[in-house]
Symmetry: C2
Subunit: 353 residues, 2 copies
């Protein structure tokens, strides 16, 4: 099936587009009243993720409101550790938690040797359903957490402020940490390839916590395993290339290394000037980003001004997917998202003559 | 009085030293059992800050245990907003809070026009007392929060995860934000000059939250006001230069701009490779940092290895003050701090032939 709107895929491959494509990390989420209704119907967050019909429904909700140029699968990055038997649950107001934690080399060795793709059929079923419902309107993005990011949750037993336990494990037991990351890289590779086979037309690796590492530890314990994944992904499906986006939050110091990973695009948080990032790596990869999500709390004219500033910073030419520098937060006024998306499409036309 | 150990001041001015000097952000703090005793005696945290005798006592505690090359005044960065009438208090487990918040241009205009130095005599009294007790053993560091960092607390009413309210204020009311930052820059200048007159031999500006801004907003709303402060500080006292250190957490992308601010040294968090930072700005300023504080949870041999790695990355020559990339956390084993400090002194000697 031919895509009606393929700006997003074209921009990721640095091909020409009429306007800059735009989507938002966490675009299917709590800032939308209709999401909160479905979430309530589902009962709990995991049921929402694990019921293809509901995951499909919330994936499409933002597309009904806004002219986004891509849909992204609604799911959670912690489905992989859950499938590995860690016992994911969500406690109100405290975020994700695991019943089991990894604290020793033995814990790592005991992780079951299972096929992630076979375990997470609820994800691939959701993808097939979403593709059917999208009916070729815009492409669908699949995703996974990075091995390092998943490892932090599995070791800490949930979120963390300073990743003390995960880092202590890394410094005290580097070999066990590498074994864990290798297992996770294999799982992520299987998972993303299953998503691609099910219909994901691009994939993003969320390295949410790579930026808490030193430069050396980032290269060794995070980027290395993302490179291994990228090297083993299905690169073409349905007659089109399947682009890979790597997003390391707070990774601005390491852009050159990330751009050399084999990915097609690098996701940027808002702390780096996108024009400076383009100078550094724009010759090799496309860039995705990078508006500060909190700007969506400002008034629509301030939002429009910031969109214009980022477009000007990137400048004319191809290879830019507009996005936030991190996920949209629950308290944003949905009308402000309209202002954001419209500003991107309207103000970017002159950069694509 | 001649300093018995002036390595710290010499290194900040890129003068030769026998070994690399070392101190730790939050070295007087909760990881020390003797601190917890004094803290309990004081009753609450603010009383501890506001009682010169007690502030002096906890300032000196780490010096009795470890051969640190500098003492740092025990205080809190939020003393300035408190002196401006915002009503600082600490709620158990929730961090600092303010009874009053800044939410409008009028709130900014209504801030009292007072002399911070006259309000915060408990700080200058503590400094005088600490200097007397130090008796020339090591230099004493004074400090303040940066205007942007103080403004975030005053607007949010406490700490924040995403600084939504502060950023919304900045984007919606930039003029009022600039007026607030100007008032705070004047207050910080007065405060640091009073600390210098009272005996602080170097000063550090903690820009803890500058790194949450975009590149442009950082230059306009944070660095600009730190530059204004540096330009108006007393540069010499007791016949010696008073060096200024600027520490912006997550400021690694902006090192050149920070180094051009007029400061003598730039504090680095752990995400940047100190050798790369030296290549970028080591010709102009000294560098302070940059071990990941969580490495102190690892075993002593891993700590020593990491100290060695950072010393090797900086390489031979002058202009390095060893420190953590952020404050030490309460749960660290005090014995690990010994391993850290000793490793810096022992392993650095060969870099200062």
């Amino acid at each position: 099936m031919t895509l009606k709107n393929d700006r997003f895929l074209r921009a990721l491959l640095k091909e020409s587009v009429d306007v800059t494509p735009v989507w938002m990390m966490r675009q299917a989420g709590r800032y939308l009243p209709e999401y909160r209704v479905t979430r309530k119907q589902a009962g709990d967050f995991l049921t929402l993720c694990q019921t293809p019909q509901l995951a499909c429904e919330v994936t499409l909700q933002p597309l009904h409101r806004y002219p986004f140029d891509a849909a992204i699968l609604f799911s959670d990055i912690l489905t992989i550790p859950d499938a590995l038997g860690q016992g994911l649950y969500f406690s109100e107001g405290e975020g994700p938690k695991f019943r089991k934690v990894i604290r020793s080399a033995l814990d790592v060795e005991m992780l079951p040797d299972i096929s992630i793709a076979d375990e997470l059929t609820y994800v691939t079923d959701a993808i097939a359903l979403i593709r059917k419902e999208l009916n070729g309107s815009v492409p669908l993005i699949g995703f996974s957490g990075s091995p390092w990011t998943l490892a932090t949750y599995m070791i800490e037993g949930g979120g963390s402020k300073d990743f003390r336990i995960a880092k202590q494990f890394m410094y005290d037991h580097p070999q066990a940490m590498h074994l864990l990351l290798e297992k996770l890289a294999n799982a992520v590779t299987d998972y993303l390839n299953a998503q691609i086979k099910a219909g994901a037309q691009a994939v993003q690796i969320f390295d949410t916590w790579g930026g808490v590492l030193t430069t050396g530890a980032y290269a060794t314990f995070s980027l290395k395993y993302m490179q291994d994944i990228v090297a083993n992904l299905i690169r073409e499906n349905e007659g089109r290339q399947v682009p890979v986006i790597i997003f390391t939050k707070n990774g601005g110091l390491w852009l050159e290394a990330i751009a050399n990973s084999g990915c097609q695009a690098v996701g940027l948080d808002w702390t780096i000037e996108i024009g400076a990032a383009r100078q550094r790596i724009g010759g090799r990869v496309a860039l995705q980003g990078n508006m500060d999500p909190t700007i969506l709390y400002a008034n629509p004219s301030a939002i429009r001004k910031e969109v214009g500033r980022i477009l000007e910073s990137f400048g004319p030419g191809n290879g830019h997917v507009f996005n936030l520098g991190h996920g949209i937060t629950p308290e944003v006024n949905p009308d402000h998202v309209s202002a954001f998306v419209d500003a991107v499409h309207e103000l970017s036309a002159s950069y694509h003559p």
